[in-house]
């Protein structure tokens, strides 16, 4: 890594406890929990777009929520400019929240249905004292223009807008506090394809103009490839591969990444993949597999994979993967299943 990350995620884990019966507790069974994150480590650099991809239930959204501290991590820590965000309280926490903002997946539940757009944006501006009270109406108009909404949108309620418009209001709310980092959790997955492009292009445009750092969580590989500088692939709450977008898409170094790319629908029937690169279903995040989390579905699994969990190791400049098969996907020794 050349420059130090703006946000450094160090081996964070997050569990959600499940209800445990009295008998089970008396019998001394460990408390059941969903292991949403299992030692995620990555760095987010200033000004970049980091895409985070993976299947449903792989912990993408949990990671996004940990980044803005909607969840506190159970293990590990998240450093923002070298400072552990778990220790932030009061004004320091508010200042952190101002600088690291989030945009939510569901445009229909992420805006308060009883507040007009003016109130939603005005509240963010006034709580964080972004501008003198007299300037708030002008600032709201400027924000709406920034996300390409009419100024008269300010006096409407969220239910009067379409999904794409609401998502742009969500972006305007996040931008109201002039953040440096935007965490976009499945920003467009709830939108029609035609509207997706509008919203994504708006985000890219804003990123350039405002020099934002963007964490883009999504399951749409083509979209992530289109907009990300780097991509992290998650599986069962762990980053299994991370690298520059083109390196990773051109030569995936982890069998799971390969499986994901192969699973993406191919338009050309000649190029349709014939082999199944991953079999079976995602294992339960309640009882994690021993060893490598992916070994139950990996076509290449060895004995070692069943006992020892691999960590991220370098596979090239700015490219890491967590797999015992160090040669997997390497240009010289093309490995196939």
């Amino acid at each position: 890594m050349t420059d130090a990350g703006m946000i450094t995620v160090e081996g964070i884990g997050k569990r959600f406890a499940l209800p445990q019966g009295v008998m089970s507790r008396l019998a001394g069974h460990p408390a059941p929990a969903v292991h949403a994150l299992n030692g995620v480590s990555l760095q987010i650099r200033r000004g970049e777009t980091l895409g985070i991809v993976g299947e449903s239930g792989c912990g993408k959204s949990t990671l996004a929520r940990c980044l803005v501290r909607l969840h506190d991590c159970d293990d590990g820590r998240i450093l923002f400019e070298g400072q552990d965000i778990a220790g932030l309280e009061g004004p320091a926490r508010r200042a952190f929240n101002r600088r690291v903002q989030m945009i939510f997946q569901d445009p229909f539940s992420s805006l308060n249905p009883r507040m007009k757009v003016r109130a939603i944006l005005g509240e963010a501006l006034s709580v964080h004292r972004m501008c003198p009270a007299a300037d708030i109406p002008d600032r709201i108009a400027a924000l709406l223009a920034l996300v390409r909404l009419n100024p008269d949108a300010a006096d409407r309620y969220p239910h009067e807008f379409s999904g794409g418009q609401r998502q742009r209001i969500g972006i305007a709310r996040a931008l109201a506090v002039e953040p440096e980092v935007l965490v976009a959790d499945e920003l467009v997955s709830a939108l029609d394809v035609s509207v997706q492009a509008q919203v994504v292009n708006l985000l890219l445009d804003l990123q350039q103009r405002l020099n934002l750092t963007v964490v883009f969580v999504a399951h749409d590989l083509r979209l992530v490839r289109h907009i990300s500088h780097r991509v992290a692939v998650m599986y069962l709450g762990k980053v299994v591969e991370i690298g520059a977008t083109e390196d990773l898409f051109a030569a995936p170094r982890h069998p799971y990444t390969r499986a994901l790319l192969d699973a993406a629908p191919e338009l050309d029937p000649e190029r349709r993949s014939r082999q199944v690169a991953a079999r079976g279903e995602l294992p339960s995040p309640i009882n994690l597999p021993q060893g490598c989390l992916f070994h139950t579905r990996c076509p290449l699994a060895l004995d070692r994979c069943r006992t020892e969990r691999p960590e991220l190791t370098d596979r090239g400049p700015q490219h890491q993967a967590a797999c015992h098969l160090a040669d997997f996907g390497a240009p010289s020794t093309e490995t196939t299943a």
Binding site: Q101, S109, S110, N112
Partner: protein, 277 residues
């Protein structure tokens, strides 16, 4: 939905709200200025006109002291509308605040609250209120205290359940991610989305409070004779039910009408306040 925001629909008030609101408005006006409407002094005895059936002079007849029943029903609006408001406002406000805090906090606060709810709903409401009033002594103020001590639980339970739903929605997380304080999220963001069922229940509860006030009046634990109060009036007439039905029936009809006003208003408000998504 089209790409341009839809034009706002003109607000059309639902009919129940209009009718219920009209009944309540009239009730409040009568309650505030009973002397303008009552033909006689409600407490004036007229030994020349005892137990008279309804007539043009006394449209609702007279009771066993010759008091004009219509005038007493009209003057009772003052007390009974007071009961409706005063017996419910404290439970509504206090219960809403407690319910919002408990529902948001969850955990042990919610568990403790759940036990309190269990303890209160184990007893029939009326029995509990009667027990408290008998300890404090009869009278309206003690009745308000008794209802306040018990009644907030029902509001709190409604609000807590709603807040629990609302706090899981993304807009609540958006508030937290903005760095807003918990109190701001609870009372400015969640509560306006959670309070509608409590308001609707409040309307029904005001009708129930009048019934409760009348029941206690009937039992001699609420408003004290000779005050004109519907429950007291019904109790006054119970010995004459076979011969002078009008003493009890007209105050009873007044209770029905007012209760109808509250219920219709509640139904209408539920429709108007429904959250649009």
């Amino acid at each position: 939905m089209s790409d341009t925001a839809a034009p706002r629909a003109r607000m059309i008030l639902p009919r129940p709200l209009i009718i219920g609101g009209a009944i309540l408005l009239a009730s409040v006006v009568v309650g505030l200025f009973p002397a303008l409407f009552a033909p006689f002094d409600p407490n004036a005895f007229d030994y020349g006109a005892l137990l008279q059936a309804p007539s043009w002079a006394h449209p609702m007849g007279t009771d066993n002291f010759g008091r004009d029943v219509l005038s007493r029903v009209i003057h009772a609006y003052t007390i009974d509308m007071q009961i409706a408001v005063f017996a419910t406002i404290v439970p509504f406000v206090f219960g809403t605040i407690i319910g919002a805090l408990v529902g948001y906090a969850g955990g042990w606060a919610e568990a403790l609250f759940g036990r309190i709810v269990d303890a209160v709903i184990t007893f029939p409401f009326l029995v509990l209120v009667i027990a408290i009033v008998s300890v404090l002594g009869p009278g309206l103020v003690n009745m308000y205290i008794a209802v306040g001590v018990v009644g907030w639980v029902f509001y709190a339970r409604i609000i807590a359940a709603e807040i629990k739903v609302q706090k899981r929605l993304d807009y609540a997380d958006a508030g937290r991610a903005m760095g807003y304080t918990h109190l701001r999220i609870i009372f400015r963001h969640l509560l306006p989305n959670a309070i509608t069922p409590a308001i609707v229940y409040w309307m029904t509860d005001m009708a129930l409070a009048i019934l409760l006030g009348s029941s206690l009046g009937y039992l001699g634990l609420g408003a004290q004779p000779p005050a004109a109060e519907w429950g007291v009036q019904i109790a006054d007439g119970k010995n004459f039910m076979a011969t002078a039905w009008w003493i009890s029936v007209f105050p009873g009809l007044a209770i029905v009408l007012t209760g109808l006003g509250f219920s219709l208003t509640g139904d209408g408000l539920a429709e108007v306040l429904r959250t649009k998504r």
